[in-house]
Amino acid sequence: MNLQKKVFITAISFLLISGIFAFISLYIVSEVNETTTELDSAVAIAVKSVSLDHLFINYYIDRSEKTRQAWLKNYQDLSRIISLAKFDQQEERDLLKSAAGSCARIGQLYQVFSLSQDRAHALAVVEESRKIIVSAFKLRQSNARYMITLHKNSMMFVILAVVIVVVILAGNLFLIIFRIVRPVIELSKGVELVGSGDLDYRAGNLADDEIGNLARVFDAMTDNLQKSALRHRTILRSVVDGFCIVDVEGRFSEVSKSLSSMTGYTEQELLTMRLRDLEGHQSRTSVMACFKDVLAGDPVCYELQYQRKDGTVVDLETSVQNLQDEEKLVIFFHDITVRKKNERELSDYRLHLEAMVKERTQALEEANKELVRLSQVKSDFVSMVSHELRTPLTPIREAMSLMYDGIAGEVSEKQRHFLDIGLRNIDRLSRLINDLLDISRIEAGRLDLVFEPFDIAEIVKSAAATFALLAEKKGLNLSFGECVVSALVHGDKDKTAEVFANLLGNAIKFTEKGSITLCAKEKPGFVECSVADTGKGISPQNLDRLFQKFEQFNRSVADGEKGTGLGLAISKGIIEAQGGRIWVQSIMDKGSVFFFTIPLYNGEGDKKEAV
């Protein structure tokens, strides 16, 4: 049964009791009224009958008219009162009847007396009036007795009513106390307990009413709270990071197991300590310094060093937050000792590396200086070679040439043959020196080129003309013209001619039969020149090495001038210094085609010098 029903039933029973009580009260009041009226009548009868008796005696003595009149009036009043009076009780009605009879008889006796004046009649009147007085006093007595009974009864009723009301009130009070107030007090105690953190409290299985429901809901809530708290605690405990709660003074009010293992102090020890005790003496920043800021809702994060119980130092990343609505801080500690150690090692390593690099750089700078010096030495050597080697060659060659030409006298055929051998080898030596000079200049990046615009066709034709005789001697068909365009290119004219001569010379030298074709085609931004032969070709493995120094293939070629092995390397250097490209395509036993490019003249009159 729920509380609402209980209250309803209590109210109904209250109403019923009140109704009964009111009804009884009304009854008592009417009964009292009635009795009072009866009492009044009885008193009036008594008074009148006494007065009548008194008046008759007076009249018997004085016989005055006045007294007789008074007696008559009194008699009429008494007769009226008796006739009007009403009584409930049978005894009272009998008394009234006898009083009425006496009264009637007094009337008759009075008539007789007034006529006879007989004493006997007079005595009879007095006797009758005394009977009325007696009846009236008896009536009053009976009435008074009833009044007393009534009074007693009403007193009893009042007491009974009070008792009933008290009982009902007490019952209700009990109900209220036991069913409502007590459980509420219990529950509020429970709420207080739970509020203060005792999550083990349960209201228990209470009555099946609203408060019982409230208690059950509250228990369920506490259950959830406990589970949640347990979960949080489990999570916090299982977290590797340490945490604690500190108050304004920096005292620990809660610490985690992990913090205790981080610091080496037990949880109990920590709870008697302050945060400052862990921060060590040399610590620059104290978390407590930022207490106010954090409370204002400004969380901070530091990387701090803490002193363990054993005196060793740990690096802990410390993040501080406020605990809502409390003058406390929640501090989380993350162990970054390893990271810090690594950082320090890395830093040391970096410094070491920097020192090494510096050392190395210095060594390299010195080496570079040495290289520059060596380069200068080489360059000096090259110019020494160019001058000192060529200077004696000139008179040697000229002296032999003079003899060969017969200027110094007659020369026999045999002498001329040997002089020819000498002259040819002097020329070869001279070429070798020139080539060496060129290649060393190319390598030193000091090939001096005179850039000017010139017509590529002119160079092709001039080269063809130079080699026409040689080609003809070998029975080779030297063709050019159809695919040679007339275009202004930008480069060193003499050096370009040298490249053409070199390629054309090689082509003729290494081709036994067939033809040599010269081409110069205009492409976007440059002219592509080519020298194609029908020689035996170059094997793929040799193609790669072709443009390197001192690489000579087909050394078996007997006739013509011996090469220096530098021609293609020099050609490559010249072409690349002019901003072009040189390459070769070859098929064994079919022939080779050498290509190179020269940039087109773009109209600018500047003399660009390639390095």
Binding site: S386, H387, R390, T391, P392, L393, T394, P395, R397, E398, A399, S401, L402, D405, I407, A408, I426, S430, N434, L437, R441, D448, L449, V450, D492, D494, E609
Partner: protein
């Protein structure tokens, strides 16, 4: 026709002289720059073959002096040089040397060049 050859190498002087003489020219020689300049002023040759690298003053300087002197100003000068780089030759041209023959030269080529210049 008279040709002055200035070179510090006596072997070159001998062979060039022999070649030029065979070619029908009168030859005067000098083995220093200053000496060569003095010979040029004194002999007034039709052409001067001038070595670039000389022990006292270099060929360029001699050429400058020749160009500055009224007597020798118009005599064509042919540089005999080991320096074959175009850039360096350009520099010489500015000083006033008219022609170049690169060492080592061939006697007949030298003779042909000399004939060509004198014919102009």
């Amino acid at each position: 026709m008279k040709i002055l050859v200035i070179d510090d190498e006596h072997d070159i002087l001998d062979t060039v002289s022999a070649r030029l003489t065979a070619g029908g020219y009168a030859v005067v020689t000098a083995d220093t720059g200053e000496g060569g300049f003095a010979k040029a002023v004194a002999e007034k040759p039709d052409l001067i073959l001038l070595d670039v690298m000389l022990p006292d003053i270099d060929g360029g300087m001699v050429a400058s002096k020749l160009r500055a002197n009224a007597v020798t100003r118009k005599i064509p000068v042919v540089f005999l040089t080991c320096i074959v780089s175009g850039k360096e030759m350009e520099g010489r041209e500015k000083i006033g040397g008219n022609f170049f023959i690169a060492k080592p030269f061939k006697g007949d080529e030298l003779l042909a060049k000399v004939q060509e210049i004198l014919e102009e």
